[in-house]
């Protein structure tokens, strides 16, 4: 089984996925720089992806907790999911997801003025 991951820069990766693995784990363990900073506990929003239009209805709908955590993501729409909450099944073979920019790890160090 495979999933296709589109990166913020447009590059795509076709990754072999095992049944029962979280999509976040598939992406992370293939060495793709996904932030996923809480490690899959549905406690951050740094594994935000947009799933392909035709896949939205095929996924187990997001839990209330996932919807709450998505409040901490950006550019959220009906295709938005936290991919630590998507478990690979044979029905999801061919799944397409696009990684949201804020979920990319290894962002260069930056300075920000917190102010106020």
């Amino acid at each position: 089984m495979f999933v296709t991951v589109r990166m913020p820069d447009g590059a795509t990766h076709r990754l072999e996925a095992l049944e029962g693995w979280r999509i976040m784990e598939v992406i992370r363990d293939w060495g793709i720089p996904i932030k996923a900073e809480c490690g899959g506990a549905c406690a951050c929003a740094t594994c935000h992806v947009w799933v392909g239009e035709e896949w939205v209805g095929k996924l187990v709908p997001p839990s209330a907790e996932e919807l709450e955590m998505l409040d901490g993501a950006f550019q959220v729409d009906e295709r938005s999911r936290l991919c630590c909450q998507i478990i690979m099944t044979p029905e999801l073979d061919g799944l397409e997801v696009e990684l949201a920019p804020e979920s990319l790890a290894d962002a260069p160090p930056e300075r920000m003025v917190v102010g106020g």
């Binding site: 951050c44 901490g72 959220v76 160090p109 920000m112 917190v114 102010g115 106020g116």
Partner: protein, 343 residues
């Protein structure tokens, strides 16, 4: 020496579970520690990301939450009497002329110690920055990620974005003094204390708060002066809200931050260490917990605890090169039991 300057045995950077347990192990080696963390509370990820989430793989504790683990560690290290500097970020780490290390924080604090322990996990927690092109140009003038001085917002038009406790708390607190306050959130539900949500709804009913469904998608203005926030509705259409300030509250995320500038060897944003002392490429600077890397590394809290114990042995040699550290067990050593105030 000035009031904000201090000397100690060890400076621990990061007050997560591993930083806290390092204080304990250093304490058993009779080393005094100061602990610095950018968060205003100890616990690191355990306290900030998942205080309510269960942890099942701490040896001897079948199950506890992130906050419970933090509380237990704080109880365990209480007799060691560490000095905490919370809400401060380390901005520089430099060598002193007499071979010690100097730590500077963004609060103007200076700490001098022969040993530094970096237990910084994924780095510093910083506010999430909305991916709006050019937003940096407004930060500090029209875009604020925290409210430090309420008075700065008096009489201003303010847009708060987000749906959590920070967004709701500041909506309620700033509405009475702002000229106009608009709360923007992507859905009508909020992840905040119900009491605060009720207060916001009451202010909305009185016309003191305007609630708009959507997400900030662009900014309008010039030379750092913000004129309007463009908001994208759930249906994809957009509209402008004229404003003086945007205060986005989308939570915190981890950035490696100034650690990258310390001159320590890094590999893929992690600090390579040896597995006997967990020392970095710079003598006297150790790295333990999620921030280090070595062959076979597992990012587990228990790995960090193990690393802390071995690090403390090596740290003792730097602080007291003339003394031998007698290895003792807390079960049988009356000296250690006195230290822990149990005997």
């Amino acid at each position: 020496m000035q009031a904000n300057e201090a000397s100690t045995d060890v400076v621990v950077i990061g007050a997560g579970p591993v930083g806290l347990f390092a204080v304990f192990q250093l304490g058993l080696a009779r080393l005094k520690a100061h602990v610095i963390d950018i968060l205003d509370k100890p616990g690191g990820q355990c306290a900030e990301l998942y205080p309510e989430k269960p942890i099942y793989d701490i040896p001897g504790i079948p199950g506890c939450t992130g906050q419970e683990l933090t509380d237990r560690l704080l109880e365990q290290i209480k007799p060691i009497e560490p000095v905490f500097h919370l809400g401060e970020m380390v901005t520089a780490l430099t060598r002193t002329s007499d071979g010690k290390w100097r730590v500077d924080t963004d609060a103007g604090r200076v700490l001098i110690a022969p040993v530094i322990v970096i237990a910084a996990g994924g780095g510093s927690f910083v506010p999430k920055r909305p991916p709006i092109p050019g937003i940096e140009a407004y930060e500090g003038t029209g875009v604020f990620y925290a409210v430090r001085k309420i008075e700065a917002f008096r009489g201003k038009r303010v847009v708060i974005a987000g749906g959590g406790d920070s967004a709701l708390d500041w909506t309620v607190n700033l509405a009475p003094i702002a000229q106009k306050l608009t709360l923007v959130h992507r859905r009508p539900e909020f992840r905040a204390a119900p009491d605060t949500v009720n207060k916001m709804r009451a202010l909305e009913a009185k016309g003191l708060v305007k609630f708009e469904l959507g997400q900030p998608s662009d900014l309008k203005g010039s030379d750092g002066k913000l004129d309007a926030v463009v908001v994208k509705r759930p249906d994809g259409t957009t509209f402008d809200i004229a404003t003086d300030a945007l205060v986005p509250f989308f939570g915190l995320t981890m950035k490696l931050g100034p650690i990258a500038d310390f001159g320590i060897n890094l590999h893929e944003n992690l600090i390579p260490v040896d597995t006997a002392k967990f020392e970095t490429s710079m003598p006297g600077i150790f790295a333990i917990g999620d921030i280090n890397s070595y062959p076979g590394k597992l990012k587990l809290i228990l790995s960090g605890f193990h690393e802390a114990a071995l690090m403390a042995q090596a740290a003792h040699r730097y602080v007291h090169p003339d003394k031998v550290l007698r290895f003792q067990y807390t079960t049988s050593s009356s000296e250690l039991q006195r230290l822990l105030k149990v005997a």
